[in-house]
Subunit: 135 residues, 2 copies
């Protein structure tokens, strides 16, 4: 039996937030947008529509919870949710807090420019806000 | 009481596919990618995470059904699912069939270049395949 291993690129580009019942939650280490990622700990999962219904509903519940948290913590204008996986095939769901005038608005965040890591204080501050809101 | 009205931009850019229990289903009239859109007939809905749980689960079920259909009809390599709404605020979920080497691969479809309508026979053929697979 294989065990769940987080994709190396997701790990390298993010800061760990928490473990929910189904998903590992990450914060993209990108100062351009508050951007969370949920990774279900299901070995070899790549597509939402191929999960069983129970896993789909649990993933939906946790995605909603993280979207609520990101909206509350940032006061953003719009939440963007996406599951693409064209590059990293391990199933992961993006939850991004968007605002009019942010980088590439109203276009998508994926594939736009180059990731800009948080200054360490700012990343820690946002992580702490997210963790408090989740608690 | 307001009634559901499809956003004018979604209508103008798409071909109608069918009505499911919750959603109107559209095919983007864009020859670059097989691209379906689900629009829940819920007045003023803008964010998945703000729907009640029942509506979320129904939307998930119909999104899964359309993703299965798009995968079966196209034999695509990857399904991309997204709910952005930065431009059109009416809640809508994108389900796109992607393949290595298609336009802007592995980047996202949103905001890329200019929509290229189907030659009418090709659009009709894809619509018919989708409808048969749904039946």
């Amino acid at each position: 039996m294989s065990e769940f291993l987080l994709d190396e690129r997701l790990r390298a580009d993010s800061l760990p937030v928490c473990e929910l019942d189904l998903c590992r939650v990450l914060l993209m280490n990108d100062n351009r947008w508050p951007w969370a990622i949920l990774v279900p700990r299901i070995v070899n999962a790549e597509e939402i529509h191929l999960l069983d219904t129970n896993a789909q509903i649990r993933l939906l519940g946790e995605t909603t919870r993280i979207a609520d948290v990101m909206a509350a913590v940032t006061g953003c204008e719009k939440i963007n949710i996406g599951a693409l996986g064209n590059i990293v095939r391990q199933l992961h769901v993006h939850v991004i807090a968007r605002n009019c005038g942010d980088e590439n608005w109203p276009g998508p965040v994926w594939g736009y420019g180059t990731r800009r890591p948080y200054p360490s204080d700012k990343g820690k501050l946002l992580l702490n806000k997210i963790k408090r809101q989740l608690a």
